[in-house]
Symmetry: C2
Subunit: 163 residues, 2 copies
């Protein structure tokens, strides 16, 4: 198992934990110099904060705990492809590599929520300093969590409607 | 003077205030149903928070003061074209119209800082629900603040280097 696989699996585990506490099913891992600095999940629903995607949460917590300089040149592993907000946030925080699991199209297909279709690579194209975007990595494992989430949501809706 | 002009001028005034307190020269106005709900400036330097662009600050403060529903269907007037982070943040917050002053190219030309060259329209292309992007509006007034900022920064640098 490569290091990339290991870190992505932690991000996917965080996506499942987020789902289990009622949040959107996304997680992210922050790594620098071979060290895991932070693992965070989405907290949008539990905090009522529309910005609390896993990657933004990751950056906020790491900056508070470790200081802004810890983020410079770090890598983020995201269970779901970062949206434009998250891609921009990572850029301004000094992240220089992003590895993604499920793609933007996978997310839209599984969840069908309001979507921002632009990809992470498109958002970061030509940015200076450059950010390398890799993946999809462990795509099937990442998508499996999204499907579980969608299935639970559908069951919940059906239970609500039944007499 | 149209209402758009009025609201944009408030955003540009906030950009000048941000500059005068040592922050990056950007401001934004939040308007809904003909009412100004919030005016905010960039606070990146004064707070040490790389995410504290004027638009993110605007969304955060308005959500805290007025609740998330106040943002639904609102318009943001931004003295400088919103970056990918800010465009995505506004989308998730439920903003449905953005009016910009200085363009992304104007900002890069005036400030020469690390840049994320993608435009607000490109970021939001095809998003659902849609966000209308208008402008540039009062571009010369908005760019004048950026130029003042750059000039002061250059003078400051020259003073530091002089014996």
């Amino acid at each position: 198992m490569t290091d990339d696989t290991l870190y992505m699996r932690q991000a996917i585990a965080a996506s499942r934990e987020a789902m289990l506490r009622g949040d959107m099913p996304f997680g992210a891992t922050l790594v620098k110099d071979g060290q895991v600095l932070q693992v965070s999940g989405n907290t949008q629903r539990s905090t009522g904060d529309c910005m609390a995607h896993a990657e933004v949460e990751l950056i906020r917590v790491a900056r508070r705990k470790l200081g802004a300089s810890a983020l410079q040149g770090a890598t983020v592993y995201a269970s779901g492809e970062p949206c434009a907000m998250c891609s921009g946030t990572m850029f301004w925080a000094g992240i220089t590599r992003v590895v993604l699991g499920a793609t933007t199209a996978d997310i839209a297909q599984a969840l069908g929520d309001p979507t921002l279709p632009i990809t992470c690579s498109e958002v970061l194209a030509g940015c200076q300093p450059a950010v390398q975007v890799d993946g999809p990595l462990l795509r099937d494992e990442a998508v499996a969590v999204l499907r579980d989430f969608a299935q639970h949501a559908a069951q919940h809706a059906a239970q609500k409607q039944s007499p």
